[in-house]
């Protein structure tokens, strides 16, 4: 595969080669076999009292299988022992995980692998090696208001100590390490945004879980109080952290979009199956256009979102100057598809859809959560407008 032609920068097939196809097929079968929806429901929805809803239960054995399959390192470069697969391959893997609504830090770890890959330092490579060994990471950067920008972290490193609070950290109770975005205060050069790998059991770190709606994830606020930071924990090159984050942004948007697309396909198929078999007024309800047409619209929305997804993923590898643009389109399309489809998946199930025992609410709640991650659809459109209009 090459991108020699001046007019055709991307390969027509999105770079979806035999390796990618194999990964997709294996992942599809793996989740079908190992995490059917009734198993997921028993796992995460076993307690309906949300007062206890501060940690999502996950299946440690299943997770170990995922680690053993090497899926944490699909996007880790080959030079540090990873699989170095194309972004479109990674997207299809995450889609299958999203379709199963997998509880576990797959997306957070993949995201960190992209950020570390963009750092290009020896320390970053060492952290990538940890991922290859099965360690999990989550990126921690949000201030209290949940900003979707990279330079708003309230964390500070001064005199080798990390202090402050960071919010909305994904799967915080499941990961081994946090990749923390902090301002390094340096007497000579002022303040520099810096990326630091911190173990979850670090001294001075308190993990304060949120009570959240999504049953398949957990989320927390991290409180650092004089947590000691060694030099080898600093993974970004001096003055280059924001640049690395900028480079990794399209991949971060692609993974969450892929998760949404996969979950949406589950919602579509599950609701269509119900419409094929549920009878009212002596007909399967799929007969009624008030059921059929929203499902057709949902299908279309999913397929547009998937088209954007692969286009964005392909751009990461073949057309990096367009990757952020396309990735923002993908996240906007995926979020809108999910909002529409989640609503219809519950509504069209009727009374049963309003019960805890029906599976659709698990996916609706996961989608509501995913929609806001890294910015919702209207945020993506605002950023897209900035990107497009600045080209004039």
């Amino acid at each position: 595969m090459t991108a020699t032609s001046k007019t055709i920068q991307q390969p027509k097939d999105f770079g979806f080669d035999a390796d990618a196809l194999a990964l997709k097929d294996v992942a599809e079968k793996f989740f079908q076999d190992n995490l059917p929806t009734q198993k997921l429901h028993a796992l995460v929805a076993h307690d309906s009292n949300l007062e206890h809803g501060t940690v999502s239960r996950w299946d440690a054995d299943l997770w170990q299988q995922i680690v053993d399959l090497g899926w944490l390192m699909v996007s880790v470069p080959e030079r540090v022992g990873g699989m170095g697969m194309s972004a479109v391959a990674v997207a299809t893997l995450v889609e299958q995980a999203g379709r199963a609504a997998l509880p576990g830090p797959l997306v957070p770890t993949l995201n960190v692998s992209y950020i570390l890959g963009a750092c290009g330092t020896d320390n970053a490579d060492a952290a990538l090696s940890l991922i290859c060994e099965g360690s999990t990471f989550s990126y921690a950067a949000c201030n209290k208001s949940g900003s979707w920008e990279h330079d708003t972290s309230d964390l500070v490193i001064e005199g080798g100590k990390l202090t402050g609070e960071v919010h909305f950290v994904q799967d915080a109770q499941k990961v081994d390490y946090f990749l923390v975005n902090a301002k390094l205060v340096n007497d000579n050069q002022g303040v520099d945004t810096t990326l630091v790998a911190v173990p979850a059991n670090a001294e001075g770190l308190s993990i304060m879980p949120n009570a959240i709606i999504d049953l398949t994830r957990d989320q927390a606020r991290l409180q650092f109080d004089q947590t000691p930071i060694e030099n080898q924990q600093i993974v970004s090159a001096p003055g280059k952290a924001l640049e690395a984050l900028r480079l990794a942004t399209p991949a971060l948007l692609v993974t969450i979009s892929a998760d949404i697309c996969g979950a949406a396909e589950w919602q579509l198929q599950t609701t269509a199956e119900y419409a094929r078999t549920r009878k009212q007024f002596d007909r399967n309800i799929g007969f009624f256009q008030a059921v059929k047409h929203p499902l057709a619209d949902f299908m279309i929305a999913i397929d547009l979102a998937r088209s954007h997804l692969y286009n964005a993923a392909c751009a990461i590898d073949f057309e990096p100057e367009k990757a952020e643009q396309f990735a923002r389109m993908a996240k906007a399309a995926a979020s809108d598809a999910a909002a529409f489809g989640s609503k219809k998946s519950v509504q069209l199930h009727g009374g049963i859809g309003f019960t805890w025992e029906c599976f659709v609410h698990i996916y609706m709640k996961r989608q509501l959560h995913s929609q806001t991650l890294l910015g919702d659809a209207s945020h993506q459109r605002a950023k897209l407008a900035e990107l497009i209009l600045s080209q004039s």
């Binding site: 809803g53 900003s147 009570a211 009727g350």
Partner: protein, 416 residues
């Protein structure tokens, strides 16, 4: 007041004065729990006691059931229940716990019950001593009510009932249930029969009541299993095979379209009388305040013109719904039925869409549940969004509502 406003009859005028006098000194003190907004919300023994005492007191004073004949425990008046309702609203009384009994069972028994059933059941229903619940919906019969499968088999002078009912409010407290059952499997509409069923006395025997868990994780509804429940034929309303027609009387009164006015009491616990003018749009429209307090990407959400546009759109919908309710009472200016039939759809979809917009306003904080102390507005919005599907699904889904509008108002062919 405008010229079109209806005048009280002399009987109504006198009764209004009586109600006002009585209410001046008999409205009970607020409860030590959050006041409920309607009878279906009764969830604890404490609720039940507080509101039953109130219903009995209002009944004894003649404010509940005043249009029913004296021989059935009523007040024997004419068109006076609406007066009592207005005055109880004005006086911000507590709600009545017997909403399903008063609004649905009572008129159905009155129009279709035998003389002896009326005498036996209505007095304690009106006084609130006996609570009622409704057994219509089933797992396989939601929008299509006529497809109920709970079967009543005739055995001499008895009926033996087996089946499964769902979405039953207050079944755990009810003495009686109105029940629609199939008595003939070969005829969908003419194979239904309507019964009143004693459920409390059969609990744990041939009747099992279980709480249903909602999408939010909360309870609030029940399901009931009937396992060879035997009842007397005297508990049948109207003829065998006439259940569908009897159920129409129930549903008409549920939708406020029946001839008998439902006793309604309340105001306590309601933020605002829906007919009085609010001080400002902002105080009763929480999204503006929410958007001023929530931060989206570093700026107050209200400063984002896209959010602003959506918030204004939602405000316009909210004001429109209120004005739609006002308009429907102006003869000559609007078709009242056309507007009335829109009300459920408008209200429930507004609640759903405004909750969805609230989540958009909240951004990342919208992920937090009502059990997280950092959640804006105490985490009410994710809960409100999930709960809103109860509104768009129950009592005629939004899809069914649109059918009704197209068919009854625009005369389009039935879609079924």
């Amino acid at each position: 007041m405008s010229k079109n406003a209806k005048r009280d009859t002399p009987e109504q005028e006198e009764f209004r004065r009586y109600c006002r006098d009585w209410l001046a000194s008999n409205v009970p003190a607020a409860p030590n729990f959050k006041p409920l907004k309607n009878g279906a919300e009764v969830a604890t023994q404490q609720h039940l006691e507080y509101y039953s005492v109130w219903q009995k007191s209002a009944y004894d004073a003649g404010l509940v059931g005043c249009d029913y004949p004296v021989e059935y425990g009523g007040g024997g008046r004419t068109h006076c229940q609406s007066i009592a309702n207005q005055e109880m609203l004005r006086a911000k009384t507590p709600i009545l716990p017997g909403a399903i009994g008063l609004g649905m069972a009572a008129p159905t028994i009155f129009f279709h019950g035998s003389e002896s059933l009326k005498q036996r059941l209505l007095p304690k229903l009106l006084s609130g001593e006996e609570l009622w619940c409704q057994g219509f919906s089933e797992p396989g019969a939601g929008s299509d009510l006529a497809s109920v499968q709970t079967f009543a088999e005739r055995r001499g002078d008895k009926w033996v009932i087996n089946g499964h009912k769902v979405w039953t409010s207050t079944a755990q407290f009810a003495t009686w249930m109105i029940l629609l059952a199939r008595t003939d499997k070969s005829d969908k509409y003419n194979g239904l029969t309507y019964f009143v069923v004693p459920i409390k006395s059969e609990l744990g025997k041939s009747v099992t009541v279980r709480p249903l868990i909602k999408i939010t994780g909360e309870t609030g509804f029940n399901e009931e299993l009937f396992d060879d429940l035997e009842i007397d034929d005297a508990f049948r309303l109207d003829d065998v095979g006439k259940g569908w027609q009897v159920a129409m009387t129930t549903l008409a009164h549920e939708r406020g379209a029946g001839p008998l006015t439902t006793p309604m009491s309340g105001g306590q616990g309601l933020a605002e009388d829906k007919d009085s003018k609010p001080k400002s749009e902002r105080s009763e429209f929480p999204l503006i305040k929410l958007a001023q307090h929530c931060v989206r990407n570093g700026e107050p959400a209200i400063d984002d013109p896209v959010i602003r546009d959506k918030v204004m759109n939602m405000l316009i919908r909210q004001v429109g719904i209120k004005q739609n309710r006002r308009l429907r009472r102006v003869p000559g200016l609007a078709d009242s039925q056309r507007l009335t039939l829109q009300d459920k759809l408008l209200g429930t979809e507004y609640l759903q869409d405004s909750a969805a917009l609230a989540l958009e306003i909240e951004g990342p904080a919208g992920t937090l549940s009502n059990f997280d102390s950092a959640a804006p507005d105490n985490g009410m919005w994710p809960l409100a969004y999930l709960s809103s599907f109860g509104g768009t699904i129950a009592a005629g889904t939004s899809e069914i509502q649109r059918n009704i509008l197209g068919e009854r108002i625009l005369g389009l062919d039935k879609s079924k």
